[in-house]
Symmetry: C2
Subunit: 203 residues, 2 copies
DNA sequence: TTACCGACCGGCTGGCCGGTCGGTAAGTTG
DNA sequence: CAACTTACCGACCGGCCAGCCGGTCGGTAA
């Protein structure tokens, strides 16, 4: 009995993994259930035995992965320290993610418009819980303790996320180099801006 | 003869306008040629009389619109003044665009992955010419004359564009209000960053 | 040993959609 | 007016793909 459940679980995991890879490569409509099944080494019948529809398969995969990200980033929110330190930790965690995992965050935003109604809402909420809301919590603290200038925290957190997204990707990697340099770039831009600083903190 | 050409041109324009509206609303694959034809008050035969394929229709629409944007933003690049003034002008032009027009910039980035090969390249190039390269030109000047801290200009311009994109959209409009306030927010964030300024320029 | 269950198979189908094609009528040219 | 070109029509086709369903088989329980 445990034997059967285990088998079923690994098959589902295989299907989800195959789906993730394929959906990352091409738009939702261009990924066929046949492709997913073949990549997961199952037949379409097997696939439909575990998932009721292509859409539910996609949503299941995404919700599961986003929940994982949420837990990961939560550590940065819960740790102590300044706003900047906590954002640094969160960003480092993000930058250290393998390509396939960080690509998911862009994937949600790309495909969210594909769905409507309930599924769309669930995806949006899961994404917001995973990343922007956690950044927002840190930003909110930063504003409260005077580290950040007063502003709408949600808007600031979206801005921060957008800056981080830019630093992923080949061009930034080529120009800036390793993760630590990219991290410095994002934090510097977000906190101090792009203009020349008029000689700060010179002791 | 002028009569026929004129008729043909208005029909094409009607088709392009209908396509633009529909493509903005749903992903490429979910927009059918029937829908476009019906919205443009033509039949599918009529549509295919003017455009060789769905893909070419999309590309034609996008290239035309992006070229319009390029011309618009070029004015900010060519005008005199500081880096900040020129970016302000460009951003103001962007923010003053009707929703349908500014949505196109997000649309390209969303749909670019749908196509491959030649068409994809043409779209990417047209987008880059329309917005990021022009911002980059201004940013490059800003770095050269010491207004901006030394950094990779392309990365900076992408960051700026990303910040502007956030300020479009309902939430920012609700929180920040009119275009001028949103403009100040973007420029402030980009130039001075989010942290509390240590009492600047107090005369 | 028997009865059953659940994982998985894979052929099939119905609908949808991009694209075609033969036709018509209005406009243009000589 | 005759010959023709052009804008447009709409029925139709072929391929593709999500989802279905009748079946097989290895395990599990009584």
């Amino acid at each position: 009995m445990a034997r059967q459940d285990e088998r079923s679980a690994t098959t589902q995991a295989r299907i989800l993994a195959a789906a993730r890879t394929l959906f990352l490569g091409r738009p939702y409509a261009d990924v066929t259930t046949d492709m997913i099944a073949r990549a997961a080494e199952v037949t379409k019948g097997g696939l439909y035995h575990h998932f009721p529809s292509k859409e539910q398969l996609y949503v299941s995969m995404m919700l599961g992965d986003l929940e994982g990200k949420r837990k990961l980033f939560e550590e940065a929110v819960d740790m102590g320290g300044t706003c900047r330190e906590r954002l640094a930790r969160l960003t480092r965690d993000f930058l250290d993610l393998p390509d396939e995992e960080s690509g998911l965050m862009r994937l949600v935003r790309r495909d969210v418009n594909t769905f409507g109604g309930e599924d769309r809402d669930r995806l949006v909420r899961a994404y917001q819980r995973a990343l922007p809301e956690q950044v927002e919590a840190i930003v909110r603290d930063g504003i409260r303790n005077g580290e950040l200038a007063p502003a709408d925290p949600r808007l600031l957190s979206w801005s921060f996320v957008a800056l981080v997204e830019i630093v992923i990707g080949d061009y930034a990697a080529r120009v800036l180099g390793d993760a630590e340099t990219r991290l410095d770039h994002v934090l510097g831009l977000f906190f101090e801006g792009a203009e020349t600083v008029p000689a700060k903190v010179m002791a």
